[in-house]
């Protein structure tokens, strides 16, 4: 069976406020989908309806074709989730909490033991397996929660900002874990407002703003949405460069629309075109003999699209 998540006309209103407005979205297959949007966009509201924590005003959510609202037990049986940093009963150890959740899912005791060892190792919490969760730091709890979501080796994993509350090392480890999950036959649906995280681990993105889906596409195709738009490129040099030199040598290069100075050694070039044009420009800049040491987009394509789409929404 191909793992899938589907929202059909999913709507949530809190009084007169519409948190989610007729979301129609279907994601399926073994991949990682980033669910993006600014704070208050409706990401967590959507995920909560997928896990039956809140109820839709209209519409339905499906996991692997099973309606969450009419049969939560069956729908959630093939899904692991992490919504809003949950708490495990403080007097239980991770091992006991996993025994409970595994047993409730119908896993056999030996299966629970084996999977517990694997997932705790994956989140680097093995040595804490028999300590009470109540003594853990927020970051440690989040690791255990991620492990809990993966315990049953589910087809579908729903993660709500999984790196929340983690230190930079923890965030990097979570990304690594999610990347590792992608190698298996699993659909990962992960909300985030950290664009670099999404770029790092996701194959597809869905952008939500003010309860409305703005677009959903493959990450590789997001840059196409910019069309022939102008992109910012940061170029750094070993030594300061005069404005006159920039005007004479850099400005005339093909694709360069304009430039601005960030520091004596760093320029931001507004460049028209996609990756081929950038590649050509890089070669030409390096060939000028100005001591080019760094050449990168000032913002990722996703960031550009994100900001553009959100600002369109604001307007």
């Amino acid at each position: 069976m191909t793992p899938s998540l589907e929202a059909v006309g999913l709507t949530k209103r809190f009084g007169s406020f519409t948190a989610l407005d007729h979301l129609n979205l279907k994601v399926e297959g073994a991949k990682c989908v980033g669910f993006l949007g600014p704070n208050g966009a409706g990401k967590t509201t959507t995920l909560k309806m997928f896990t039956d924590l809140i109820f839709p005003t209209e519409g339905q959510a499906f996991i692997n074709g099973v309606c969450v609202q009419t049969d939560r037990k069956q729908a959630l049986s093939t899904c692991g989730d992490l919504i809003e940093s949950p708490e495990i009963y403080p007097a239980l150890t991770p091992r006991e909490a996993f025994e409970m959740s595994g047993a409730l899912r119908g896993m056999r005791p030996e299966e629970i033991r084996a999977r517990t060892a694997i997932v705790l190792d994956e989140v680097k919490m093995t040595e804490w397996a028999n300590q009470k969760v109540g003594r853990f730091s927020k970051g440690m709890k989040q690791r255990v929660n991620i492990a809990a979501a993966l315990l049953s080796d589910p087809d579908v994993v729903i993660l709500d900002e999984p790196s929340t509350g983690l230190d930079p090392r923890g965030m990097a480890e979570v990304r690594s874990i999610v990347r590792g999950l992608k190698n298996e036959n699993r659909l990962i649906f992960m909300s985030s407002h950290i664009l670099s995280e999404v770029v790092d681990v996701c194959d597809e993105v869905a952008l939500l703003d003010r309860g409305k889906l703005l677009f959903a596409d493959r990450l590789a195709k997001v840059a196409d949405r910019l069309g022939g738009g102008v992109r910012g490129i940061e170029a750094e040099f070993t030594s300061p460069i005069d404005d006159a030199v920039v005007a004479e040598k850099v400005q005339p290069l093909p694709g360069v629309v304009s430039w601005s100075r960030e520091s004596p050694t760093r320029l931001t070039l507004q460049v028209k075109g996609g990756l081929p044009e950038q590649s050509r420009l890089l070669s030409q800049l390096a060939g000028l003999g100005l001591g080019l040491v760094s050449f990168r987009e000032s913002r990722s394509a996703l960031e550009e699209v994100y900001l553009r789409e959100i600002s369109v929404g604001d307007a």
Partner: protein, 297 residues
């Protein structure tokens, strides 16, 4: 991935069909599983230590009082002994157990976010409710049984084998105490399901049972001059009947100082058991009704 309108599914959704769905335990099995781990959590919690301290203090005070005064009215036979020590103490301890273990049973799932962990599992809300109900019942019963052991220990010391000569009335009183515990827990779970903040739930239940019901009962009795049969705190009076005997349903008591005759009521067995059963069933299902509709916002 598509962001376009998709076909509207049939009622109930499509079948899962990967062969793993049937492995999820039955609702009944899940209730037992959940209650086991919840009970384990209670046994290790500070609240259990607090409850045991209350039980120990109550038992110690009664033991000391009996040892010091040696009231002949209690030491004649087992029924008098248990009637004097068991019923009142058990009612008091059941109230504390209900508040301590049950007050935040449901509200705590929202406030402490443990519900986000539980409700992400393939379990029905009713399963969570029943599992927690069973765990609170077990934890409360453990407390009550410890108190019973203290009382019976005292009985053995003072009455010897006579303490075990006729345990039928004590067993009947224990059964009524358990019915009262169930009714109280239903009430506590109802309030716990109505609030998302544990403190509010615990406070409302505590204030209601420690003061509110007593005040309402007094008002009903003294001002309205009617029998407060509908009050749970009135109905629980039957707990001691198997041991002390059934008092007159209506008693007229003349105050020697004010020379005013007041009417006192005692619940009949039928009233007491009926009202406790009614509270148990009514409030338990009302609590489930609220929990089924409460959102984890």
């Amino acid at each position: 991935m598509s962001a376009i309108p998709v076909p509207v599914p049939t009622e109930g959704g499509a079948a899962g069909g990967d062969g793993t769905l049937g492995q999820v335990p039955s609702t009944f099995q899940q209730v037992l599983l959940l209650s086991r781990y919840q009970f384990r959590d209670y046994l290790r919690s500070r609240r259990f230590i607090l409850m045991m301290a209350i039980v120990a203090a109550t038992g110690a005070i009664l033991t000391a009082v009996v040892a010091y005064f040696r009231p002949s009215s209690l030491l004649d036979n087992a029924n008098d002994f248990y009637g004097g020590l068991w019923a009142g103490g058990a009612t008091f301890l059941i109230l504390f157990a209900g508040i301590i273990f049950g007050g935040d049973a449901i509200a705590g799932e929202f406030q402490n976010k443990t519900g986000y962990f539980l409700m992400g599992l393939p379990v029905r809300r009713a399963t969570v409710y029943a599992g927690k109900y069973l765990a609170v019942l077990l934890a409360s019963l453990v407390s009550i049984l410890v108190y019973l052991a203290i009382i019976m220990g005292n009985g053995t010391y003072y009455l010897g084998v006579g303490a075990f000569s006729d345990l039928g009335p004590l067993a009947a009183s224990i059964a009524l105490a358990i019915l009262y515990l169930l009714a109280l827990m239903g009430f506590v779970f109802l309030f716990s399901s109505m609030f998302k903040t544990s403190v509010y739930a615990v406070l409302v239940v505590a204030v209601l049972f420690l003061f509110g019901f007593s005040i309402v009962q007094t008002v009903v009795l003294d001002l309205a001059h009617i029998e407060p049969w509908f009050m749970l705190s009135y109905a629980n009076g039957v707990i001691g009947y198997p041991l002390s005997g059934v008092p007159a349903h209506i008693q007229h008591v003349r105050n020697p100082f004010t020379r005013v005759t007041a009417t006192a009521y005692n619940p009949t067995y039928l009233e007491g058991i009926g009202v406790m059963l009614g509270y148990w069933i009514g409030t338990t299902f009302a609590g489930l009704f609220f929990f089924e509709r409460e959102e984890f916002t």
